[in-house]
Every structure is written in C-alpha cells, then in structure tokens.
C-alpha cells in the first residue's frame, strides 16, 4: 500500500532469507510481505547491534491495539537472552500459545499512557516470545528490524517513515485477522480509548499475572474490541502518524531539558549555612550526635532517642501536617515500616489520604498549592528518615502528575484523577512489577539449587516462595548481619512456609559460599552506572560470590532505578542509630562499651546502605526483563519519563 515500501524491496538479502519469510508463513502474507522487514538505510542501527538495546516502541497506542501483531517481531536481541532460557510451559503451564499471548497483553501494560512512543517492556515482550512454545519465528529476522527502529530515533522524518513502513510490514506478516485489527485502529481513537481502558486493564492485570489463562478472557476483549470498533484508516496514514508520535516521544530531549535531568545535588550536612536554613524550617529540632563520624559529616547525624517523643508531643502543633502523613512519618522514625517498597507504598497511601481531604484554599490554584503541600509533607518525612531513592521517584511521579493536571478539571475530578494515578503507580510499578520479577527470576531456579540471600528483600522472598509453590527443590541460605538482623524475620517466614533454610552471619559468607549456586539480592536502588545501592553488606556478599564464581542476581523494580551515579558508599548514605551498634540484643554479656559510648575517641558508625560495584552483579532482574547492569542507564534513560514513572 505504501509506495515507498515497494521501492525498498530488496535491501538486505541476508535478512530476507530468514524468519518470517519462511515459505509456510509467506503464503498467508499479502503481497507486501515480500518486502523485507528491514530498511537498509540504518548504518547506525547496525552499529548498534552489539548493544543489547531493546528497540524503541513504535507507538504505544499502536502497540496496544495491535499487540498481538507486534509482539512476535518484537523479540529482540536484548530479550533473546533471557528468553532463550525460558521454559514456556513452566511459565504458563497448559496455556496455548494464543492464550498466553493474550494474557501477556493484559499482563504488563505499564506504558499505556505513554503519549509519545517508548519501548515495550522488555519483560512483556520477552514473555510473549517465550510463550510461543515452538519459537517459530526466527530471531535473526527480527533483530535487524529492531535495530532499524532504534536508528529511527535520530533520523529525519522521511526516512523514518520508510523504516516504519518496513517495520509495519513485518508486523503485517501476521495472520490476516490480527493485521486487520491493527489497520482499523486510528491513532486518535486509540488514544481516547486508552484512557477508558486503563482502569479496566489495571484490574485485569492483577488477575492476569496470577492466573494467565483466566485473565486472558478479560484481557482479550479489552484489546480487541476497541480495535474493531475504530474506523479503518489507511496503512500509510497509520505509519505516518506512528512516526510522528515516535519522534515526539523518543527523540532526545532538547539540551535544556537534558540539563534539567541531572539530579540535584543532595543536601550536604557539612554545609553550615544550608543546615542552619534547613533547621529553621524543620518541624523537629534534632540534637546532633556528640561523636560524629568525621568521614560522614556530610550526612545528618542526629540523636535518635529524642526525636520520636519530640515529634509525638508536637502532634497538635503540626497544623499543616495531614494525620496520615504524620502517622507514616512516625512509623518511619520508629522503624515500623522499613524496606523500600513498604515505605514507598505507605507514603503514597498517606499522600492519597491527604489528597482526598484536600481542598484548595481560596485564591489559590490546586496545581500550585497542592504541590507545595506535598513538598511540605515530603520535607516532614525527610526529617523522620531520609528518603529512599524509590520514594524520591514516586514523589517526582506524583508531582509531575499534579503539574500535568488539565486546568479544565474541577477540583474533585483532579483529586480523583490523582488518587487513581497513585493507585496505578502502586499497582503497576510495585505490585505488578514484583510479580513480573518473580516470574522472571523463578526461571533461574533449578532443582537442587542452593540459593543465598542477604537480609530481607520482599522481592526475593516472593521469588523463593513462588519457586517453592512451583515445587522446585532447592535450599535457601539466609545471610544476616547486625544490627537489624532482618534475616531472622525472613528466615522465620520461609521456614514457616516449609522451605529448607540455612542461617548464618555475614562473616561466614565465605564458608557457606562453597555450596551456593545462586545469589539473589534485593536492592534499594540501582544507579545508572550499574551500581546497586542496597542494604549494607550486600556488597560484601556479592563480592564473595564473585570471588567464588557464583552468579549474583539482583531483583529490583524499575521504579527504583535512578540516573544518579555513585562509586562508593560514603558520598551518599544513611546513618542509622549508633547505639544499635554497641548493644547486642539477646547477648547481655556483651556490654563492653556501656561506659565508653560517651568517650570522645569512640565513634559508632551504623551505615544503612552500601554500593555494590556493577562488576559483581551478573544480572539485574527488573520488570522490564533480565538485564546486565550495563543496561541500567539505557533503561533509566529510555523509560525516563513516561515509562519509569508512568
């Protein structure tokens, strides 16, 4: 249909020979299928080939309506690695290819609202591919085509249109029915429909990931109906609009924007004037620890004991603070809520409550006032405990949603929309992301494995329990460390579920590592140089695993990724209560430091996090798939706006 397509028929013979053009398939394909899937005008694309970059998503809306069509060709080099090791039947036992396929469509739709184009989730497409048992599509055919799409990013529109055309052909070499689906969709309508679908899908997703087969029923109509209802549009128009939107979305941001993306330097607590300023604003007046650790002057080192009662007594004075936020703050301070996800969810729920009870003061606009309000909540929470990076990302998401609220919305509508946004963030970025991670990671557990984990990570716990549910035979080594001894809690939960466990302290990690076959670790954040920022000790464990040639798999939801970089654990960290160091609970005989804690020469250092260098990490399992640590910046950069924070 597209004339340009015809002109570009034979370009890369190598590509033509493979994959979709196997005789059996081309029969069903219409004439245009004779054109190669790949545009040759993309040297850049080819040069990219060694990099495992998933291609940019052609157009999110295009994809959604036509997901069944697109997905198989979307199997791309980046995905093939994890995919290759998948056992489809393991993943969706008893599912027919189509069924699992549809279920997939429902499953991982995080990027729906993407106004511009982005990429499909690696995880999603990877899974889709894996759910085709026969693997009938040749990978090599797909690969080049994807590379062209990568190259499109920086190309003049004309060329990219061509490429798009070529690509769309690839997609069109699907069974006719699915193609017709896609052809019928027009972009505008799909966009409109998306908003409506969103809620339905979010609901469907939860079920889908639990029971793919069952959910396929839900997911299918959602995707199919709108497509059919939409009026047909010409292929050419479609591809053109696709390109346009793609350019808008994927194109590198202008220079000014990019500068804005550089993360703000964090508050340095050795900067006297700024600290003073911050103190004036602060709700609580923390007392500085007497023996501060010199090396960590740039971090807040305050007395712990006084803070909580101080804050509690101020409850009635804290007029602007919403009670829900206040409660969460106290929970952070007391350590009742810990763990990246739990803290983030608690905070978002509190904000949700606060938004619910919010009413715009007269002569103020909701957008600006609410943002300020949220900022004050956030600074209160920071006083209780420094934010984790994941929370920072969630706050950025929320603020961007507030800023983007259309002015036409009434206050109640705006509040409802924000609340649903928060819900969606929790569901998609945390709950569903964890489910996807579990599905991915469980493929890496074999019978007879000895899995080591450190501390207590919610994602790792889910993985272990799920693998146990699947009936895999494995042993778990729980490595723990002072002062939190979170591993004991994990151990209790695992043993309660009937897993066979070994428990030890981090010092014995070299002893136990001989028998370990895999190390699963959680992370507080993954920074864009591949550094894994996590509970202190994670670096030690992964270092020893590295020395013993044991693969280290880090499980981290993509919303915790951050574009900040860090080389050591000192520049940025969090300090816990120093008194926790000198006292060993349950060991009263260890009281050597009771009288000495006040001595001037003695400092107690309770680090909370450390930074694991990326070379100790074999693989990062995220909701976008299983990637090497070197791919983190790619994910951070490419999913930065719409996708990472929705």
């Amino acid at each position: 249909m597209d004339p340009r397509r015809g002109a570009r028929v034979v370009i890369d013979p190598k590509v033509r020979q493979v994959g979709f053009f196997a005789p059996g398939r081309t029969q069903s394909a219409p004439p245009e299928s004779s054109s190669p899937p790949v545009a040759d005008n993309s040297p850049a694309g080819n040069s990219l080939s060694p990099v495992m970059i998933p291609p940019p998503r052609h157009a999110s809306d295009n994809l959604h309506s036509a997901r069944p069509v697109l997905c198989p060709p979307l199997r791309r080099p980046g995905d093939t690695i994890p995919v290759g090791s998948y056992n489809p039947s393991e993943f969706f036992p008893g599912t027919s290819p189509t069924a699992s396929f549809y279920s997939k469509v429902g499953d991982g739709e995080f990027s729906e609202d993407a106004s511009g184009a982005g990429w499909t989730h690696r995880g999603n497409s990877g899974k889709v591919a894996s759910s085709f048992p026969s693997g009938g599509f040749d990978l090599t055919a797909v690969k080049p085509s994807n590379l062209t799409t990568v190259s499109v990013v920086n190309m003049p529109p004309g060329i990219s249109v061509k490429t798009r055309g070529a690509l769309i052909e690839v997609q069109n070499e699907q069974p006719a029915s699915s193609r017709s689906l896609k052809e019928k969709t027009s972009k505008a309508e799909r966009r409109a429909l998306q908003e409506a679908q969103r809620a339905a899908k979010a609901a469907a997703k939860a079920e889908v990931s639990k029971a793919p087969i069952a959910a396929s029923g839900v997911a299918t109509p959602v995707n199919a109906k709108p497509a059919k209802a939409s009026k047909p549009s010409s292929q050419k128009k479609d591809s053109a609009s696709v390109t346009a939107s793609e350019k808008k979305g994927v194109d590198r941001p202008p220079e000014k924007d990019r500068k804005k993306d550089i993360p703000h330097p964090r508050m340095q607590f050795d900067d006297k004037s700024r600290v003073e300023k911050a103190k004036r604003r602060a709700v609580v007046r923390p007392i500085e620890v007497r023996n501060r650790v010199e090396l960590f002057r740039h971090l807040p080192q305050y007395e712990r004991g006084t803070l909580l009662p101080d804050l509690e007594s101020k409850f009635f004075q804290l007029d602007p603070m919403h009670p829900a936020v206040y409660k969460v703050g106290l929970q952070y301070l007391a350590g009742d809520v810990s763990g990246g996800n739990a803290r983030c969810i608690a905070m978002l729920h509190a904000f949700q409550e606060a938004i619910k009870d919010y009413s715009t003061p007269p002569e103020k606009t909701l957008v600006r006032d609410l943002t300020a309000r949220i900022s004050s909540y956030v600074s209160f929470l920071i006083e209780c405990r420094p934010l984790s990076i994941s929370m920072g990302n969630a706050i950025r998401f929320l603020k961007s949603r507030i800023a983007k609220l259309p002015l036409s919305l009434s206050e109640s509508e705006a509040k409802a929309s924000l609340q649903s946004d928060i819900n969606r963030f929790i569901n998609e970025k945390i709950v569903l992301a964890d489910k996807v991670i579990v599905r991915h990671a469980v493929t890496k557990i074999r019978d007879g494995d000895v899995l080591l984990t450190y501390g207590s990570s919610s994602a790792v716990e889910m993985i272990l329990l799920y693998a146990h549910e699947l009936g895999k035979q494995f042993r778990v080594v729980v490595v723990d460390s002072r002062p939190k001894l979170e591993g004991q809690l994990l151990l209790r939960r695992l043993v309660g579920k009937g897993l066979s466990c070994t428990y030890t302290h981090i010092n014995a990690v070299s002893y136990i590592m001989h028998e370990v076959t895999r190390v699963f670790l959680g992370a507080s954040s993954v920074l864009s140089n591949g550094t894994v920022y996590s509970r202190v000790g994670t670096a030690c464990v992964s270092m020893v695993a590295h020395a013993f040639r044991v693969p280290v798999l880090v499980c981290c939801e993509a919303y915790k990724f951050h574009e900040r970089v860090q080389l050591d654990s000192i520049c940025s960290n969090e300090l816990g209560d120093p008194d926790a160091i000198s006292k060993v609970p349950g060991r009263e005989e260890i009281n050597y430091l009771d009288d000495w804690a006040k001595s001037e020469n003695l400092q107690l250092l309770n680090l909370i996090y450390d930074a694991t260098p990326s070379d100790y990490v074999s693989m990062i399992i995220t909701d976008y798939g299983m990637v090497p640590p070197t791919s983190v910046p790619v994910i951070v950069r490419e999913y930065r706006r719409e996708h990472l924070w929705i």
């Binding site: 650790v293 070994t502 302290h505 001989h514 030690c540 450390d610």
Partner: protein
C-alpha cells in the same frame, strides 16, 4: 611419672573442652607442659635424645588429637622436638670435636680447637633460632659437617660417645636435658614476648593520619596499634565488631582507653569503608606453610575487599603460629563450628530446629564457623617477631623452626633408633 601424666591429662581435657582461648595461651601452656615432661622424663644412658623425642611425641600426639584445630599445639610440639634434635646435634658435634681433640691431643692449636666446637654449636642453635641472619661464609663452612651428620641419627653420636667416654656420660646426659630445658624456656620467653617484638615494628608501617581497619580482637594487633600510638603517631582505626563474638567491642574499648581515635562498624560495612582505609591489620589464628592464613571468621571477606581496593592486608603473627603443614580444604578441615545459640536464640526458633519432627530432616540449619581461610594471594605482608615476610617466604621460615622429620607427629616404633 604419674604427676606429669596428670598434668597432661588435665591439659588435654582443657583443650577438648576448648577452655584454652587463643593460640598464644595455648602455645605457652603447651610449651610449659612439654618442659615439665622433659624434666620428668628419665633418660637412658644411650640415646637420650631418642627417648626424649619419643616421650614428647607420645604426649604431643595426644595433645594434637585433643584439639586438631588449634594448630599452635602441634607447632609447639614440633618446635620442642626440633629443639631436642638440635641440642643433641650440637652436643654430638661438640663430642665429635672433643674426640678429634683427644685424638689429636697435645697439639699446639689446642685452644683454638677448643673454641671451634663451642662456636659451631652456638652457630647451629643461633642459625636455628634467629632465622633471618644471613649465614656467613664461616658458619656455612662450619655447618657443612653438621648437616652431613644429621642423617646419621642422633643416637649414633651418642653411642659412639657412650663407648668411648663412659665417664663423661652422666654429665652429658644432664647437659643435654639442661640444654633442652634451657632452649624450651627460651621458646616460652619468645612466645611471651612476641607481641613486643612485633609491635616494635609498628612505626615502620603506620604513619601519620593513616586509617587502619581491623576485625575482631587480637592482642597482637592491639599492642601493635598502641605501640604506634605511643610513638606519637596519630591515626584512626576502624574496628569491625566481628560477629558473633563481638570481640571488636573489646578492642574498641581498649583502643579508646589508650586514646586512639576509634570507630566501631558492623562487619557488613567493611566493604563500604574499605575504600577510605589505608591498611588492614589483622591477627591470625595460624599461618600455614603456603602462606595461607587461618583467621577469625570474616577475614576472607575483608581480605577480598582489601584486594579490590588495593589496600595492603597485613597479618600479624608470632612465630608460634607458623604451622609447617600445607592446608587442604582448610575451610572445612581446619575449621570449627560453634554453637548456633550465638546466632539465634534457641527459644526463638526452637520449633523450627526440632530435629524429630516431620520427615526427619530439620528445616533449619545454623552455621557458625569459627575460622576463615585467607589464601596467600590475598595477604600482602606477614609481620612476625622476626620481621616482615611475604606469604611466599613462609615455607622457608618454617624450615628454620621445624625439622622435616617432625611434620607428622606420630610415634613410630623405629623413630627413636
């Protein structure tokens, strides 16, 4: 000798019950015990050394079996055996020289000859004990006949001697025992003072404003750091607490009492902090012949982290910790698993640790090893009481302290004769 046997039994029970803590205390007690064994041992007329060696081996075997992980026991047994051999040898050479002397009597250079054996015996002993002294040409030449005499075991010298000079015998036997006990006393002295000799070298390794990391507590390390402090060096120390024994707390307290800037960190923070550390100084449990270190648990992790950041990893060890054995699978074979109660309260997890329930295999294992093995490639330097050495030099150092015949301490029926 029932009294000696009682002493031996008492010490064996102590070892078995792990009542003796620390390799230095063990070494000292072993040496003292062996000294009393030697002094009580009645020696026959001929082959006194052989009889003593047998007796020591008999006791040593029991001691080693009582706590095979405490390598210091075996080390001291071997050291004492080596001392016996050496003293016997020096006496034998003296006797041979004496024989020569009597044969060539009335020679004008009598006085000179008289000096010779004395000198050579002293040289042998000195060469054995002060290992690092480069042999002078003279001692090399003097040693030649000695080393040739080694294979013709100690008894032969004694026998020939016994035949030739029976009158001299009683005095000689007394002299041998006396010399041996003297040497063992010296050994005990060495063990007791090894800290001082090691800490004397502190100023050569610690300079101003340095940041030093250590894990757990070792008396040697403590004295090393304090010696540097006394020499007016100001530096700061990070102490990892060394779970599950938390001896780091003790060390931190001691260092603070001496006015050192001390920061106590958790073991898990070692990797985070090591990038700011100039030197890791730790004690050892034992040093193997290949230069590997049996060290308190957790040190392998520290050594790996130090290697990653190119931080020197220095091990302080008295010579009594030098073990002439080469390790095989030391993480398991030279390790000791301690009580799980140090990690988990029994009460807390008692339901999970029920070995009798369900299918028979417990769901929960708790691993609490006492030692780590640090391979030689992770060690930058050993500082012993004889100076600093590379891991690769350990085998040589060991050759100075131990006789190759004693590596296996087992009573062989023919060993004496």
């Amino acid at each position: 000798m029932p009294d000696v046997q009682a002493l031996v039994n008492e010490f064996i029970i102590k070892l078995k019950k792990r009542k003796v803590e620390g390799s230095q205390a063990t070494a000292r007690m072993t040496a003292e015990l062996l000294r009393s064994v030697i002094s009580q041992q009645r020696v026959p007329y001929n082959n006194q050394a052989g009889a003593l060696i047998d007796a020591i081996k008999a006791v040593g075997e029991q001691l080693i079996a009582a706590n095979p992980v405490e390598l210091a026991v075996g080390n001291i047994v071997r050291r004492v055996l080596h001392i016996i051999r050496e003293e016997d040898l020096s006496l034998a050479t003296a006797a041979v020289a004496g024989l020569n002397l009597s044969a060539v009597s009335d020679d004008e250079d009598d006085g000179e000859r008289e000096d010779h054996p004395v000198l050579s015996a002293a040289a042998v002993a000195a060469a054995a004990r002060s290992t690092l002294r480069p042999p002078s040409l003279q001692t090399l030449l003097e040693d030649m006949p000695d080393s040739a005499a080694v294979p013709q075991s100690s008894s032969s010298g004694g026998d020939s001697e016994g035949k030739s000079k029976s009158a001299d015998k009683s005095s000689r036997s007394r002299k041998l025992k006396h010399d041996i006990i003297e040497a063992v006393n010296e050994l005990i002295q060495d063990i007791a003072t090894c800290h001082e000799q090691i800490s004397e070298q502190a100023v050569e390794h610690i300079h101003q404003n340095e940041v030093i990391l250590t894990l757990g507590r070792s008396r040697t390390v403590m004295e090393f750091l304090c010696a540097a402090k006394e020499k007016k060096r100001s530096f700061r120390v990070f102490v990892a607490e060394g779970a599950p024994r938390y001896q780091g707390h003790v060390l931190a307290k001691e260092l603070v009492a001496r006015g050192l800037q001390t920061t106590l960190i958790t073991d898990s923070a070692v990797f985070a902090m090591i990038s700011r550390v100039n030197m890791v100084i730790v004690g050892a449990h034992a040093v193997m012949a290949n230069g590997g270190v049996i060290a308190p648990v957790g040190l392998n992790m520290v050594a790996l982290a130090a290697q990653r950041h190119a931080v020197p990893f220095v091990v302080l060890a008295g010579t009594h910790k030098l073990c002439p054995l080469y390790p095989h699978n030391p993480e398991v074979l030279l390790n000791e698993l301690k009580s799980p109660s140090e990690l988990l309260d029994f009460g807390e997890f008692s339901d999970c640790m029920d070995f009798g329930s369900g299918n028979g295999s417990p769901l929960l294992h708790v691993v609490n090893p006492a030692f780590d093995y640090v391979p030689p490639k992770l060690v930058s330097l050993f500082i012993t009481d004889t100076g600093g050495h590379n891991p690769s030099y350990m085998y040589r150092l060991i050759a100075d302290y131990y006789s190759a015949d004693d590596l296996v301490v087992q009573r062989r029926p023919a060993s004496g004769n």
